[in-house]
């Protein structure tokens, strides 16, 4: 053979693809199955080269098909052996089929001209050698292209031995294609021969080999069957431990009795896909969370309080009580006189207002902190005290811990699938193979889904092309816009927060003045209304602004979400901060009964309007207002905005352009999630000041579910922008965790550092106005324990215990981090190995081909 000393690389500059395979790909297009009007011959490299303009891909000349890593591998092979050019199948055998013009062809034609003097065996079905060559040579796809022609039936596929496949593939395939019936029969068979099976399984390949060798000569056929047995023993299918399986299923069956709303979810899922459904699932999860908290609060605080005696705080005070308790009694009397004076001439309307404000008759009910005090219960051997303070602290603590555990459990479920792969997500695979929601049941939804997938594909491809272009000057301009917009948003945020601060601050002042009932109501609600309105309007502004900044659609969602969350939390921070400044800061000298704003006159109602006699209850009232308003606003938005909008849209969508432009309602997932997380945040925050708020939130979740379901199903059209379910799910949890931490900090601070009111609440008996805090209840309880228990408990709090524990935890964390790093590295190595093996396979096949060719050339004809 002439000219065969040239290296592989000389023929095909930086080749990665075996040219034969490339051609296979082309003629496959003409095989069957698809309409052929797509130009298939273009390879990846071409497309990219065409789009890239001035990008980093330019270092490879146009029209070549190469990727950095494999090129090196090939070069290595090429350098080490001056190998013969791998044969190309004669092109003539498919000349009867029209060729689509392609860049690739142009590239290879040159090579063809160079190698005119090759004698290339033509491919014919009836030439067994050539058939094998082709099958081995071509990618595995081509192998069965031929087979597909031979038999169409998938069942034959499984049953008939296919010698053209590697044994491992055959076996895997057979296992995978097992139907339920086959699994069942094999299970039955498994019971009978299970002992045999175990012994069989333990045998290694070597043992099997030796065994067979004793009986017969080793032929390839025997070898293959041994290989298959070994491989099938390794493949373990349906081998979960049976007992464990049964137990978990039993548990599941038990809990299925309690699952609610699943039929609603199915309806929603069928019409709007999993993303929207995940919102409702989240809502249901929150409802359960609130139900647990509610049960704890109910049974440790409210029920004992209502069931046990005595009726009033004064009755609990023994005649020879300590100074603290006598002080507390005085303060309490003072507070109740003040309260009764305020309540005396209330009209019915005012009573209704009280319901909205949590004042008047509502103020001194089990709804708020102030009402609770120690109770006693009677045992056969005498009287015992039900320590309400302790119950209060413990139930709050347990509620927080349960919330925390549930959040972590739920988010770990969500994160497990996605954590650490933000960078390595196969975006396009995700879009294509996970694009369809299999749960969609509605024709219209399916149509919308198809449309949204189309736009999604187009947009992301467009985006990709844009990143290839990377125009410099426009980037600077864009950067300028973004900085400007961020400043603007900062300004808006600051303004909004100032407004919240200002209204809360003024509220306390305005309370002192005598106002008509309605005005008083409005004044009372001003800070909460401000917060709610801001929360409603500003996110819409954010959504408009973010469009100008021209982020990618995914970043757009995340950025808007982040900004809205900052707004929500910050407005709450300001509210809490203002309340803190008003109620708690201030010199101790001016405090009366633990309250800063204790105006000291008990006879005149007007003079004492602005006084706060129990700051915990006051905070509770503020939060109660927030909770109530939140509910009202949610319902009102549905009734006043979404419902009419739908009617208008349905009636005028064809007549008016404006209406058409506005479009139908869409369910804005992120905003709704923020809303519900906000609801939960207030619930946690208010839990301590008003033990029944979790109950209200529980009801709210139920109401929200039905209202939302109604509005989604009847008022909203499916959104055309897709939401990624997986990300949103872990995102919800992250945000929820953030707000949880945000809530626990001030509550923890209050319990540990702020002296409680002496005039109200379960902690009044411990308070001496300046130094004692709520946490003292627990210290006192522990001090009353037997010595050993107490010592053990205090030991947990010492440095000698905490420091080693901290070090241990840090070490553990470091260990797991290392482990994670190790896995990551292992994964990279394995990926490279997989790639290398693919290359090796191709290289070997080309060598086999070369040898066969030589043999062919040796005896032509």
């Amino acid at each position: 053979m002439k000219g065969t000393n040239l290296s592989y690389a000389d023929y095909i500059p930086l080749p990665v693809r075996d040219p034969a395979i490339m051609e296979d790909r082309q003629d496959d297009v003409h095989d069957t199955f698809l309409t052929d009007d797509q130009p298939q011959g273009q390879s990846r490299g071409d497309i990219r080269a065409r789009h890239n303009g001035g990008s980093h891909y330019q270092k490879y000349p146009q029209g070549h098909h190469m990727y950095p890593l494999p090129t090196q591998i090939y070069d290595r092979y090429v350098d080490s052996s001056t190998m013969e050019r791998p044969p190309k199948r004669e092109r003539s055998f498919r000349h009867h089929e029209p060729e689509p013009p392609s860049d690739y062809e142009m590239g290879t034609n040159v090579n063809m001209n160079d190698s005119q003097d090759f004698k290339i065996p033509s491919f014919r079905q009836d030439n067994p050698v050539a058939t094998i060559i082709r099958r081995r040579n071509a990618s595995s796809r081509n192998r069965s292209t031929i087979r597909r022609r031979e038999r169409e039936d998938i069942n034959d596929y499984v049953e008939v031995e296919d010698n053209h496949m590697l044994p491992s593939i055959q076996i895997q395939r057979r296992e995978r294609h097992k139907t339920l019936k086959e699994r069942r029969s094999s299970k039955k068979a498994g019971i009978v021969v299970s002992e045999n099976d175990d012994a069989d399984k333990a045998k290694s390949f070597r043992e099997r080999y030796a065994e067979t060798k004793e009986k017969h000569d080793i032929t390839p056929r025997h070898l293959a069957s041994i290989l298959r047995e070994t491989a099938s023993a390794k493949i373990t299918d349906w081998t979960r431990p049976k007992k464990w399986d049964k137990i978990t299923k039993g548990i599941r069956e038990f809990f299925q009795n309690f699952s609610i709303w699943s039929s609603h979810m199915r309806v929603i899922e069928g019409r709007f896909g999993t993303a929207i459904m995940s919102y409702f699932r989240f809502l249901r999860w929150l409802m359960f969370l609130n139900a647990y908290i509610m049960i704890i609060q109910f049974f440790s605080i409210t029920v004992p309080y209502l069931a046990l005696s005595p009726r009033t705080f004064t009755d609990t005070v023994p005649p020879n009580a300590s100074k603290f308790i006598q002080d507390a009694q005085l303060c309490t009397q003072n507070y109740s006189i003040y309260h009764e004076n305020n309540m005396r001439n209330e009209s019915d309307f005012q009573k209704f207002l009280d319901f909205l404000l949590g004042t008047g008759w509502m103020e001194r009910t089990v709804l708020f902190y102030g009402e609770y005090f120690n109770k006693t219960y009677y045992m056969p051997d005498g009287m015992k005290t039900y320590d309400m303070g302790l119950a209060y602290l413990l139930s709050a603590g347990v509620s927080f811990i349960i919330s925390f555990i549930l959040i972590v459990k739920n988010s770990s479920k969500a994160i497990k699938g996605t954590f650490g792969m933000e960078k390595s997500v196969a975006m396009f695979v995700n879009k294509v193979f996970c694009g369809w929601d299999y749960c969609i049941r509605n024709k219209k939804a399916a149509k919308v889904k198809k449309k949204s997938l189309l736009t999604d594909f187009r947009e992301s491809l467009e985006e990709q092309r844009k990143t290839w272009e990377k125009a410099e000057e426009s980037r600077i301009k864009l950067f300028g816009i973004r900085v400007g917009m961020n400043l603007l948003i900062f300004g808006i945020l600051a303004g909004a927060l100032f407004l919240v601060y200002y209204t809360t601050d003024r509220l306390v002042e305005l309370q002192k003045e005598k106002l008509s009932e309605i005005v008083a109501l409005i004044v009372q609600y001003i800070p909460t209304i401000t917060i709610t309105i801001l929360n409603f309007i500003i996110p819409i502004l954010f959504q408009k602004i973010v469009v100008l900044e021209k982020y990618s659609s995914r970043a757009e969602i995340n950025i808007t979400l982040a900004r809205s969350i900052i707004l929500r939390l910050a407005s709450l921070v300001v509210l809490v901060g203002t309340l803190y400044r008003l109620l708690i800061l201030g010199s101790a000298d001016f405090k009366t009964c633990g309250n800063n704003k204790w105006a000291d006159s008990t006879n005149s109602t007007s003079a004492t309007k602005g006084s706060i006699k129990c700051w915990e209850t006051y905070v509770g009232q503020q939060i109660y207002k927030l909770v109530l308003l939140d509910l009202i606003v949610e319902v009102i938005i549905v009734v006043i905005v979404q419902f009419p909008r739908r009617l208008i849209y349905n009636k005028y969508q064809k007549k008016h352009k404006l209406v058409q432009k506005l479009g139908p309602n869409e369910f804005d997932l992120t905003q709704n999630v923020i809303d519900i997380i906000y609801t939960q945040t207030i619930s946690w925050f208010g839990m301590f000041f008003s033990p029944l708020i979790p109950f209200i939130t529980f009801l709210k979740c139920v109401i929200f579910f039905y209202v939302r379901k109604w509005t989604v199903l009847s008022n909203c059209a499916p959104a055309e922008k897709t939401n990624a379910t997986s990300r949103s799910n872990s995102l919800f949890m992250m945000v929820l965790l953030l707000s949880f931490v945000f809530v626990t900090v001030p509550i923890g601070y209050m319990v540990g550092y702020v002296p409680p009111s002496q005039s109200c609440g379960p902690f009044r008996v411990y308070s001496d106005n300046t130094t004692n805090v709520m946490f003292d209840t627990i210290s006192l309880t522990i001090k009353s324990w037997p010595n050993t228990a107490r010592d053990i408990f205090f030991f947990f709090g010492t440095v000698g215990f905490l420091v080693p524990v901290m070090i241990l935890l840090v070490l553990l964390m470091y260990y797991f981090w290392l482990l994670g790093q190790g896995y990551k590295k292992r994964e990279q190595l394995l990926t490279i190995q997989l790639k290398l093996e693919g290359q090796d396979k191709k290289f070997l096949l080309s060598q086999v081909n070369a040898i066969l060719m030589q043999a062919d050339a040796g005896n032509p004809g």
Partner: protein
């Protein structure tokens, strides 16, 4: 439940429970849906339903662009019918509790249109075309999309996805478990 439990023996239910990802209650529910598909005619547990009936009367499948593939993959006999066991198998794979590995296997088979054990570029094209429905991507977009997918998933550069490659890349596709699911 009114008589439905008597269709299966306790042993059968146990078997089904062990071999699927369903509890007994769910299995009975699946059977109820199966019977409903045939308007109550096929109460017998060995009854078979024509694939067309399942394709067009099960709401989830009716709108699914891959319905013919799904039915083909899950039908054990080749006579265009599905038995209850096939149906149960299908619902079990699509259920919430089926592990990822099982789902991936069936997804691979569903998307492997020409059943040659690899997902080739033509398979991909078919998937995308079915996903986008009547309107289709331009040739250029399609090629770019397919190239992107191979870039992400095709480790050995043979322009097709083997099962191993598919399984590997699905582990990087976070939406898979959520989308490949039919609620009972």
């Amino acid at each position: 439940m009114g008589g439905t439990p008597s269709i299966f023996t306790e042993q059968e239910l146990d078997d089904y429970q062990e071999l699927t990802y369903f509890t007994k209650k769910e299995i009975l529910h699946v059977h109820k849906r199966f019977v409903e598909l045939e308007q109550g005619k096929a109460k017998d547990k060995n009854a078979k339903i024509p694939i067309e009936r399942i394709k067009d009367d099960l709401p989830e499948l009716k709108v699914n662009p891959f319905k013919d593939r799904i039915c083909k993959v899950f039908s054990s006999s080749d006579d265009g019918t599905m038995s209850f066991e096939d149906f149960l198998d299908m619902m079990s794979v699509f259920s919430e509790n089926a592990p990822k590995s099982v789902k991936v296997e069936y997804a691979f088979r569903i998307y492997d249109f020409d059943e040659d054990d690899v997902i080739s570029s033509r398979d991909l094209q078919e998937v995308v075309n079915r996903l986008t429905g009547d309107q289709q991507l331009s040739d250029e977009d399609m090629q770019q999309l397919i190239d992107n997918i191979f870039e992400e998933a095709d480790l050995d550069d043979d322009d097709s996805l083997s099962f191993a490659e598919f399984e590997h890349v699905i582990s990087k596709a976070p939406d898979f478990m959520n989308s490949f699911r039919i609620r009972l």
